[in-house]
């Protein structure tokens, strides 16, 4: 009864174009923003920040980026881990070589550098698609990890081969390093996530998004009606790389603090983010959030239920998690290829008419 568009007249095209056309949705969105910015920072503690909120915020940015490439433009990528590593190492080099610049800008520039690298590795997409492109991006994944392992310049010739985030502040508050406060890192990542989501939404509802989707749905028809396939694919790779790079930079500098590239940005990371968007919903901004939340929360919930309540051994719960994620992916691919986002859409459709069936 509450959730409906009847009586909510759109008198301009600008209003019809807005992100949340239904008033109830808009209210929900503003409420979520208020809670995220004004409530959570006051109740957050280290456990919540490190186990749930920071990984969710950072993976959601990566999922947004990958969703632009895979969900909107239809170019399969298995190189997300490698591209996150580019963001992380770019951020590390910037932080150590230009300490006087604020880390906020370091992270944005890292996104830009990753966008450039992503475009380079996206060039084969002009000739190949589908499985073959997936293999080409897989090569990017292994090459980039190898590069950061083997070229000492990237880790400033440190003996361990690791990179460590030096202490940096924003407005005098520590964001990176060992002495950070949970609320500060949380807010820092939240700002990036909200900005990324807004930009991603604007890109996908405008002409850029339509070009990407046209390429995804039928590339030959897209070219014949005037889409330049080179430009459309490269902008998708660039936008995707930008977000993935930002998430990699945040993952390294704010969340982990110290990174060994093969461990933090291995092929598993690529698959994790890919699973997020498959479960969340390909071609949906909301789906990127839902998928990231789902795969971040699943291990935590399983651990609480399995280890704390039922008293199962830890390793069994860890294995169970792999089984459940694998099973869910198969289930989603068969039953709901558009993921959680589609389930949400169907629910909303039903809500519009509730309590009447038609």
């Amino acid at each position: 009864m509450l959730y409906r568009e009847a009586g909510d007249f759109k008198t301009t095209y600008a209003k019809d174009n807005q992100t949340f056309p239904i008033k109830f949705d808009r209210m929900g969105y503003y409420t979520a923003l208020v809670v995220a910015f004004l409530v959570i920072p006051f109740v957050i503690n280290d456990y919540w920040a490190n186990a749930i909120l920071l990984p969710f915020l950072i993976y959601a940015i990566a999922a947004l980026g990958l969703n632009i490439l895979v969900g909107y433009c239809g170019q399969v990528s298995l190189g997300t881990g490698g591209f996150m590593a580019v963001g992380a190492y770019a951020c590390y080099k910037l932080m150590t070589s230009m300490p006087e610049v604020n880390i906020f800008f370091h992270i944005i520039i890292s996104g830009g550098i990753t966008a450039f690298v992503c475009v380079l590795f996206g060039l084969p997409s002009l000739r190949i698609k589908g499985f073959y492109l997936a293999v080409a991006t897989l090569a990017a994944q292994f090459f980039l990890v190898w590069l950061f392992n083997r070229v000492p310049w990237f880790y400033n010739y440190s003996a361990s081969g690791q990179i460590n985030a030096p202490e940096r502040t924003v407005f005098g508050i520590e964001i990176t390093g060992p002495n950070t406060e949970a609320w500060a890192t949380y807010l820092f990542c939240l700002v990036f996530l909200v900005a990324s989501a807004l930009i991603a939404r604007n890109l996908t509802r405008g002409m850029a998004g339509r070009k990407w989707m046209a390429i995804r749905d039928m590339d030959i028809a897209a070219e014949i009606i005037g889409v330049n396939p080179l430009k459309a694919k490269m902008t998708a790779f660039a936008a995707s790389g930008f977000f993935v790079g930002i998430s990699g930079a945040l993952f390294f500098s704010v969340y982990l603090g110290a990174v060994e590239v093969g461990e933090a940005f291995g092929i598993n990371k690529s698959f994790l983010v890919l699973f997020m968007i498959i479960i969340g919903g390909l071609g949906s901004i909301f789906g990127s959030f839902a998928g990231a939340a789902f795969l971040v929360l699943l291990p935590v919930v399983l651990k609480i239920v399995g280890v704390d309540w039922l008293g199962w051994p830890t390793d069994m719960v860890a294995h169970l998690q792999l089984v459940i994620v694998g099973g869910l992916i198969i289930l989603f691919l068969i039953l709901e290829p558009h993921g959680l986002a589609q389930l949400w859409r169907v629910t909303k459709q039903k809500l519009r008419l509730w309590p009447f069936p038609h």
């Binding site: 174009n17 930009i199 604007n202 002409m207 749905d217 039928m218 897209a222 014949i224 009606i225 902008t235």
Partner: protein, 272 residues
């Protein structure tokens, strides 16, 4: 063949302008197979020009040459008085040539509105940064072009399915959405590849009416391929007849109907 400069008025009061596109001695080969052999014809501004012929005559290949999808081995394409250099299909589209496909080529995952908006690529040129912030040029452009698109949506009577994903629509409506997408580009030449394939009589009548209305209201030049002889003879101003990749007839519907070669191609010849 010289480009005709002077315009004339048809029986039903439409003005047919000078030549806008001219195909000169086009030959297209796929390996050893000649799909098109030495064909020349012209398209004049504001007219409905039909290309007909039996299956495999090379009609669709001809359309693909015009839209830049195939590059002919010999011959020249002249467009708006200039010889067209070899170019990619998207560049041809940017020059104002829009088309529909024999087998519908819509973007199934997008809504009708998004499909038709995609047709306006030529008019929407704002940069990526402006779009990312949804401010300035991008926002204005979106609203201004939406108005134009809504006019076309009204014109083709597809308002009720505006926000429906194209994948869920029936065949006849998809054909109409595809026409809308092509029209949204405000093309100088609209190429229709079998706009009435697979339709029943009623849908054919609807589609014919839309084609005539488009030509009449927007003055769009239309080149179409069609199998239904009744439709072609009723709609078109001039007809090119192809058979086995060669041109066997060219002229008004009446001239073509009485052309012996055309009758032979369609009805067969007695061999004695």
């Amino acid at each position: 063949m010289n480009a005709q400069a002077e315009s004339y008025v048809t029986d039903d009061g439409r003005t047919i302008g000078p030549t806008v596109m001219e195909m000169k001695n086009i030959t297209l080969r796929f390996g050893g197979v000649k799909a098109i052999t030495d064909i020349s014809f012209d398209i004049r501004e504001g007219e409905i020009r039909a290309i007909i012929g039996p299956n495999g005559a090379g009609k669709s290949s001809m359309l693909n040459v015009i839209s830049g999808f195939y590059v002919p081995q010999e011959g020249e394409v002249w467009y708006k008085g200039k010889k067209r250099p070899p170019m990619k299909p998207y560049q041809v589209a940017q020059q104002g040539i829009a088309r529909t496909f024999q087998n519908i080529a819509l973007f199934e995952g997008m809504t009708v509105l998004d499909n038709v908006m995609t047709g306006r690529i030529r008019q929407m040129q704002s940069g990526l940064f402006s779009q990312a912030l949804w401010k300035g040029k991008a926002e204005k452009e979106e609203v201004a072009n939406r108005e134009q698109v809504e006019k076309i949506i009204d014109f083709l009577e597809i308002q009720h399915i505006r926000k429906t994903p194209v994948g869920r629509l029936p065949y006849g409506l998809k054909k109409r959405v595809e026409l809308a997408r092509a029209l949204a580009a405000e093309p100088s030449i609209l190429l229709l590849d079998e706009p009435m394939a697979g339709m029943n009589v009623e849908e054919k009548e609807d589609m014919s009416r839309f084609i005539l209305d488009v030509n009449d209201e927007f003055g769009t030049t239309i080149a179409l391929i069609e199998h239904d002889m009744g439709v072609v003879m009723d709609l078109s101003d001039r007809v090119v007849v192809m058979d086995y990749g060669k041109k066997i007839g060219d002229g008004t519907p009446d001239e073509v109907r009485n052309n012996q070669d055309v009758i032979d191609a369609y009805l067969g010849v007695a061999h004695d």
